[in-house]
Symmetry: C2
Subunit: 193 residues, 2 copies
DNA sequence: AATTTTAATTGATTTAAATCAAGAGAATTT
DNA sequence: AAATTCTCTTGATTTAAATCAATTAAAATT
């Protein structure tokens, strides 16, 4: 149950065996079946979720009723609505499993206790955030400057696992494209080669 | 010289007077005149810069020769190329002062030493990153889903100080718009009211 | 297996923003 | 103060992607 989490932590910081065992006690294991949700729009996000197995997405519906896919997350990644989680505010996002998934949940209190008791866990969290910051910066650049075709190709190169695993209209939504546009882009690419 | 920095830290964490004094010794004060650069494209970013006074921008030039404004930063904010800073890789960004500015610089080594010696400084850095992550998430949503007009109005509401202080074509670049489009958007808005 | 629902494709048309081009207005520099 | 450079505006045209609409294909449910 904790394989992926331990791997993720040990890739970033050095922790003792005892700390690892202590760490375990803070997490709540949780299974989600496909289409079940971890967070519903309007609720307060009380969990920071680590994914041991499966794949989830977070999305929101805008005033015009359009759905926007904010994030995908697979094994070894974390997912939450950080804004709602940190400030106890009502979330505009829904977080949903796209496949049957196994999660490890951290409440705000458990996360803070863990960071107080194991300073290396705070470092681990900071390092995760640094990587997420860099990835988001890349996504901003992509969204602002790339064509539809470039966005799709670059996403496929960066995260082939996700592109293969997820319905095409969700990829389109993640890239800020309509499903029709993505379908045409794919055709154009396949015609080239 | 350290007013803004101390204010920023004390807003986020609790530190003793001694820690604050210790903290000072890790920073290198630096003044930049307008148009001078902290980082040149191709160089390795060795500083994490806190802005005591002034305003800076980071930008890059793409293959087609177009300039893209990545970030503005004003008093009380940090600026760096985190990717280059953390991995010692050559930066694609240039960081430049838009006004005469006063900075406090942290090298990678100083930053790490500071985080080791003052755990609350690591917490401070994590909290900054959390806020940056949330802000970037909002910018991604904006870039992917908003019209030119919405982008401009929302930026003006979120950061009126920046929009007033900076040439219009830089705002356009930050929003991923051409200067012509932003000029027309502004005209349209002023015609409405 | 048949039916319903969901997903993807394709075509015609519209639209928001980019591009190209020229000129007016500001701000620096000499 | 004149000249140069930089910034913003306005107009005409093009273009990438969205929208609208219909059909086919695939997946899920009964």
């Amino acid at each position: 149950m904790f394989q992926q989490l331990f791997k993720s932590i040990q890739e970033k910081v050095i922790v003792t065996q005892e700390e690892m065992e202590l760490c375990k006690t803070f997490f709540i294991p949780k299974k989600l079946r496909k289409k079940q949700t971890l967070l519903q729009e309007g609720d307060i996000c009380i969990y920071n979720a680590f994914i041991e197995k499966g794949i989830l997405r977070s999305f929101y519906i805008d005033e015009k009723g359009n759905e926007h896919l904010v994030q995908f997350a697979i094994e070894g990644w974390w997912i939450t609505d950080l804004s709602s989680f940190l400030t106890n505010s009502h979330s505009i996002y829904t977080i949903e499993a796209l496949e049957d998934s196994e999660l490890l949940l951290l409440t705000t209190a458990a996360r803070e206790a863990l960071m107080d008791q194991i300073p290396m866990f705070e470092r681990y969290q900071r390092l995760l955030l640094q990587n997420a910051y860099i990835a988001n910066q890349a996504r901003i650049n992509s969204a602002l400057t790339e064509t539809a075709e470039e966005k799709y190709i670059n996403l496929g190169n960066a995260y082939p696992g996700i592109v293969k695993r997820v319905p095409q209209h969700m990829i389109a939504s993640y890239l800020g494209l309509t499903p029709e546009t993505l379908s045409r882009v794919r055709k154009q690419i396949s015609n080239k080669s």
